[in-house]
């Protein structure tokens, strides 16, 4: 027994080293596979305060571009609003609605709620990129909700504290987005493979369709995270490889992740009901 203790004492540095490394590996694995329940990240209150202070300084240097984005978005919204008003006045066929959406179609009646949030931490150059937002459970944000900006899809909420939320960006090696080509509704999976933060890959588009350079890619709405038809990007190149039964399509992302300052967290009011149902049926995929 004394020998054992002597042995442990002699190799104490190495044993502590192995112990700490094992702890780190455990943390890495758990954080990568397990959603929520992670306290030690930038949604933490104190870390969030430091990051918020930092962005309160750096935001001054981006005020003009932020203003431009907001103004442009306002313009688009106003234009849409005006169109609706004109339509309402000139067209009284309100019952036309029921021909497009059957009266029982819940996707028509259940609205999406948007929560605006300021980006206080952001990265684009790592293998797995995250954002931190200055909104939290106090503002109605919950883990699993989608995040979009005025230009398109941004990511998905990973963890939330009272005042802050961390978001898995589309620029994350394990983030998959269910997307479709708007022209012919062919759906595939969008993923980012590292490197250039403006370009992602659209996979699983079968060879019988004919995607072209310049086609628009939008979200499919086949899951609860993003509403249907949110802009993802435009196709920049289509390649057919000898040994694959799918195209290799490069997509230029609509969102410039290096310039993000305000985003919207999308709350889907029927998310839990639909996810429950799909989980019970056993058809829930890991796509977002």
């Amino acid at each position: 027994m004394r020998n054992l203790f002597a042995f442990i004492y002699r190799f104490r540095a190495f044993l502590v080293f192995v112990l700490l490394e094992a702890l780190c590996v455990y943390l890495i694995v758990r954080y990568n596979t397990y959603q929520g329940a992670a306290f030690f990240n930038s949604a933490n209150k104190y870390v969030g305060q430091v990051l918020e202070y930092q962005s309160s300084v750096t935001d001054y240097f981006r005020l003009s571009s932020i203003n431009n984005t907001l103004a442009r978005e306002n313009a688009v919204l106003r234009r849409e609003l005006m169109q609706y008003r004109v339509q309402e006045v000139s067209d009284s066929t309100a019952m036309l609605d029921t021909t497009i959406f059957a009266a029982t179609d819940t996707s028509h009646t259940a609205p999406y709620i948007l929560h605006a949030g300021r980006v206080i931490n952001n990265s684009v150059r790592r293998m797995n990129n995250y954002l931190t937002l200055a909104v939290g459970t106090a503002d109605g944000v919950q883990p699993g909700m989608g995040v979009v900006s005025s230009n398109g899809v941004v990511g998905r909420v990973k963890t939330v504290s009272k005042d802050y939320a961390t978001v898995t960006s589309v620029l994350h090696s394990q983030m998959l987005v269910s997307a479709k080509i708007r022209k012919d509704n062919t759906f595939g999976t969008l993923k980012w493979t590292g490197g250039d933060y403006r370009t992602a890959i659209l996979d699983y588009i079968p060879l019988h369709v004919h995607p072209e350079k310049g086609d628009t890619v939008v979200t499919s709405g086949f899951n609860t995270v993003f509403p249907e038809g949110i802009m993802v990007g435009t196709i920049t190149s289509v390649e057919k490889e000898q040994d694959r039964s799918f195209y290799t399509i490069k997509v230029k992302l609509a969102v410039d992740f290096a310039q993000l300052s305000y985003v919207y967290v999308v709350e889907n009011t029927t998310m839990y009901e639909r996810e429950d149902l799909e989980q019970q049926a056993g058809i829930l995929t890991d796509e977002q």
């Binding site: 700490l20 780190c24 954080y31 990240n41 930038s42 797995n128 090696s173």
Partner: protein, 177 residues
């Protein structure tokens, strides 16, 4: 050999971590050169510091950076590895007549060759650990390797600049008369 962990080191911890989070997080050269200057805290610790204490400090500083980077465990693992290897590298680089009582990690005191060898070896191990833990797979190994080497050069350059700017060339001599 001075082995006291003093107030100077605590200030260095705060300064280097703040520098890392507030400045070098945003400073990436050509999407390949990253600077993890916070390892300077571990490298500049007293030469004769207790090994267990060093490992613990490595874990603490790595974990602090992890919280801000949202990479739980990666920087902690790399820093603990660095902390474990530091005494071995110091042994390897022992000057002909051993370390002096007043020796510290200072480019003016220990000389360019010793200093560069010391920081390059340790930074390389740390960066290899960080980048390969980040990608996990070896598919893009060449790209990751390029990133590692560029980042090692970047971090080492910044560290040498910091040494030349802020560490005094005066050797703190003890009068033995």
């Amino acid at each position: 050999m001075n082995s006291r962990f003093g107030i100077k080191n605590i200030i260095q911890f705060i300064l280097f971590v703040a520098l890392q989070i507030l400045l070098f997080d945003n400073l990436v050269l050509f999407s390949t050169g990253f600077c993890f200057i916070y390892v300077a805290f571990l490298l500049f610790l007293p030469l004769g510091i207790n090994r267990l204490w060093l490992l613990l400090l490595g874990f603490i500083v790595g974990f602090t950076v992890d919280m801000f980077y949202d990479t739980v465990g990666i920087h902690a693992a790399a820093s603990v590895l660095l902390a474990f290897l530091r005494p071995l590298v110091l042994n390897l680089l022992t000057p002909r007549d051993g370390y002096d009582t007043n020796d510290s990690v200072n480019i003016h005191v220990m000389g360019w060759r010793w200093f560069l060898a010391y920081i390059f070896i340790l930074i390389l191990f740390h960066h290899v650990a960080v980048f390969f833990l980040e990608t996990i797979n070896f598919q893009a190994a060449l790209y990751t390797l390029g990133k590692t080497i560029a980042s090692t050069l970047f971090t080492a350059t910044v560290m040498v600049i910091l040494q030349l700017l802020f560490f005094s060339p005066k050797r703190e001599r003890v009068d033995y008369r």
